[in-house]
């Protein structure tokens, strides 16, 4: 019994799984929909609407055994047809209009074997497919409902098989859900779940302090102590998927020189930044991935902070004192504004002349980065929702990718392509680790930290297992 209210930053605009790609969609919709697989708060993969799966035909076919007696919120039965419908829609013209399709392009088609068995026929191997099936576009949707009501109606009146069902949606204001007692995983303990869209961090905290929301999801680290101080609230800080780096321009400026790049890494005291700016809510990283990520190499250590050595390296590389170094970043990221200033402080200590250029996010993503208009360095924060280094590394380092405007390294390209065709977990992990090491050796970026996911939570919430990726599931949560 009871209601839990969660603040999310953005309104995705549509609750249809294939329409958006924002985390806030998942925070809410993860309670409405189920995927064939599921990921728990511990980030481990487990069965969802599929109870089991097996790889057939030399890994080109995956057979899923479906859970039986599952119903959508509207009473429609869940079965193999629903799965086929979902993926036909995702991979067909409807999915084309949205950003989700490309994540699932490795699937050729879905075949119904019987009412509770489906086969996924693969176009190409996709080692992270099972993870992807646990979220976003792969969420299973009700065929009859969509065919009858139409796509637009579905956008604002979603129906799934999840533990909570849709009640009402007010654009830019809130989404209200209520418990769906017939959920296959057991009835939720709560009656009602409300998601309020609040874009401003200060406002989320104020609402949390006023007791009008139970979970705040948007907390710049500077505001964390405010939550900690409040006796009614607790601050939850867990290792999250987000990693932050200063990517480097290997084509122009002083960063052309690999030794300079290394000197920059060594000149920035990342531990101090984590301690002082993130207030300890983060960890140092050696490559552009979190330790939860597949491909993480505990043996790869970050370059140590060594100011004297860094200075010396710069001198050897012939860098003049006062050489400019410009850092481009997203202007609306309050935390990174401080991180960037701290980093700039260290660069200054190296005798360089740093400058910071804030950008509006779309401009940075659409223009500055893909067109190679950045300064010597640019801010890159990466969510890596699949927790697989492939997703990150390929986009960051493969030549021709949007996120990689500068490097064209055939050796790196080859490694990146190779790991995509391998299902062997061990071998793939080895290549991914190799890639990470190669990137570190060439100092393509300054890995800064893996920042924690933090929530401000009202203490009246019980049994709340905070997920690292903000994809909540409130089935077991109770309130006082």
């Amino acid at each position: 019994a009871g209601t839990v209210t969660v603040a999310i930053a953005l309104d995705p605009g549509s609750w249809d799984p294939i329409d958006t790609f924002v985390v806030d969609w998942s925070s809410a919709a993860n309670n409405i929909f189920d995927g064939l697989t599921a990921r728990g708060a511990d980030m481990k993969l487990k069965p969802g609407l599929a109870t089991s799966w097996e790889f057939l035909d030399n890994n080109s076919r995956i057979r899923f055994k479906l859970r039986e007696n599952v119903k959508f919120h509207n009473g429609e039965p869940f079965n193999a047809e629903a799965v086929k419908f979902t993926f036909d829609r995702l991979l067909g013209p409807e999915g084309k209009k949205g950003p989700q399709q490309s994540n699932y392009n490795s699937i050729d088609r879905v075949e119904v074997v019987d009412a509770s068995t489906v086969d996924f026929v693969m176009k190409q191997p996709d080692p992270v497919l099972l993870t992807k099936l646990a979220g976003y576009g792969a969420m299973i949707v009700p065929p009859k409902y969509i065919q009858e009501k139409g796509d637009d109606y579905f956008n604002t009146h979603p129906v799934g098989t999840g533990p909570f069902k849709f009640v009402s949606y007010e654009p830019k204001v809130s989404l209200t859900l209520e418990a769906f007692p017939e959920h296959w995983g057991g009835a939720p303990k709560l009656d009602k779940l409300v998601f309020r869209m609040i874009a401003e961090a200060n406002t989320q905290i104020a609402e949390l302090q006023a007791g009008r929301i139970d979970i705040a999801t948007l907390i710049p680290f500077g505001l964390a102590p405010t939550v900690e101080k409040d006796p009614k609230l607790s601050l939850i800080s867990i290792t999250g998927p987000t990693v932050v780096a200063l990517r480097l321009n290997t084509q122009n400026g002083i960063t052309k020189d690999v030794n300079v790049r290394k000197a920059l890494i060594m000149g920035i005291d990342r531990d101090a930044i984590i301690k002082a700016v993130l207030l300890g809510h983060g960890k140092p990283i050696a490559s552009f991935q979190a330790d939860l990520s597949f491909g993480y190499d505990p043996n790869l250590k970050p370059l140590p902070f060594d100011l004297a050595k860094a200075k010396q390296m710069l001198q050897q590389a012939g860098v003049q004192p006062g050489a400019p170094i410009k850092i481009d970043f997203r202007g609306n990221d309050a935390t990174f504004r401080e991180v960037a200033q701290a980093a700039a402080g260290f660069l200054q200590a190296l005798g360089l002349k740093p400058s910071l250029q804030p950008y509006e996010t779309p401009v940075l993503l659409n223009d500055i980065i893909p067109n190679g208009k950045t300064g010597e360095a640019w801010h890159n924060a990466w969510g890596g929702w699949t927790f697989d280094y492939d997703n990150t590394a390929y986009l960051m380092y493969h030549s021709g990718e949007k996120w990689n405007p500068y490097d064209k390294d055939p050796k790196l390209d080859a490694m990146l392509e190779k790991q995509r065709s391998i299902y062997d977990v061990k071998e793939r992990e080895k290549i991914l680790q190799e890639i990470a090491r190669y990137v570190a050796d060439n100092a393509l970026e300054i890995p800064l930290y893996n920042q924690n996911t933090i929530y401000g939570v009202n203490k009246r919430l019980k049994n709340f297992e905070p997920p690292a990726d903000r994809r909540f599931r409130f089935t077991d949560v109770t309130v006082e």
């Binding site: 605009g13 249809d16 790609f21 490309s102 637009d152 604002t156 830019k172 204001v173 990466w382």
Partner: protein
Amino acid sequence: MAGFILKRLLQAIFVILAVTLIVSFAIRLSGDPAVMLAGGSNITEKDLQNIRQALGLERPFYVQYLSFLKGLLVGDFGRSFMGGTPVSLLISKALPATLLLAFVSLLISIALSVPLGVYAAVKRGRWPDQLIRILSLIGLSFPNFWLAIMMVLFFSISLGLLPPSGMEGPESFVMPALTMGIILTATNVRLVRTSMLETLSQQYIMVARSKGLKDRVVLYKHALRNSAIPLVTYVGLQFGSLIGGIVIVERVFNWPGMGTLAFDAISARDYPVLQGAITVLALFIVLINLLVDIAYGLIDPRIRTE
């Protein structure tokens, strides 16, 4: 009169055309909604093309603009790129919220600035006048978001009196309207004071006094009505900047209004929503200025008969 209205109508049409053209063009220069939709995801140029195609963005600009205009004629603003909600639906929810807020703010500002301005004018040069003027300058020295956050800290966190955000009951109007009202008041007080001083030196004020009228009647009947003319003009002009300021105030108070709508639309490069929102806002600003002209006539008979 008919000629006047016709003229204003033509002007309004021109303004709307110019505004929509500028906005449609500028937003297209500033970024690609397909990339925004895809977020940071693993998306190829081909997929982007697909999305653009689905959104009708591969057509030349003038075709897109004309089709937007064609939609306007029948009241169809198109659908949001984010989820396909009809823009008119979004606007129909956001517009009342913003207008209500704007009007309450204006009311607050008028309720504050008129008596203060009149009092300052009457006490011209003496300490109450100086105090009011300095206070009004201090009111001009704070950015609205800062004022807004301070209010939340005080009224919601310290006193626990008012909801920190959202639009629920009448109590949720207090802080946003007060924030905007205070900032408007700061400029309006000066305006009222100046035009009152001007009016108070007129002969007919002395005539009114020579009739034995009470000060209150002289000030609020004879003087204020005449001083209201510049105030009304200014309030009309202010409406535009009011809407500008609303973007930030709405954001802090999480007010589901046009400011939030337009701001989010810019951030997401959601062209139809932005175009629709700005068109409607511009329409309102034009309408308000028309109302101001009519209000002139009501206040000042000299204009009425022209």
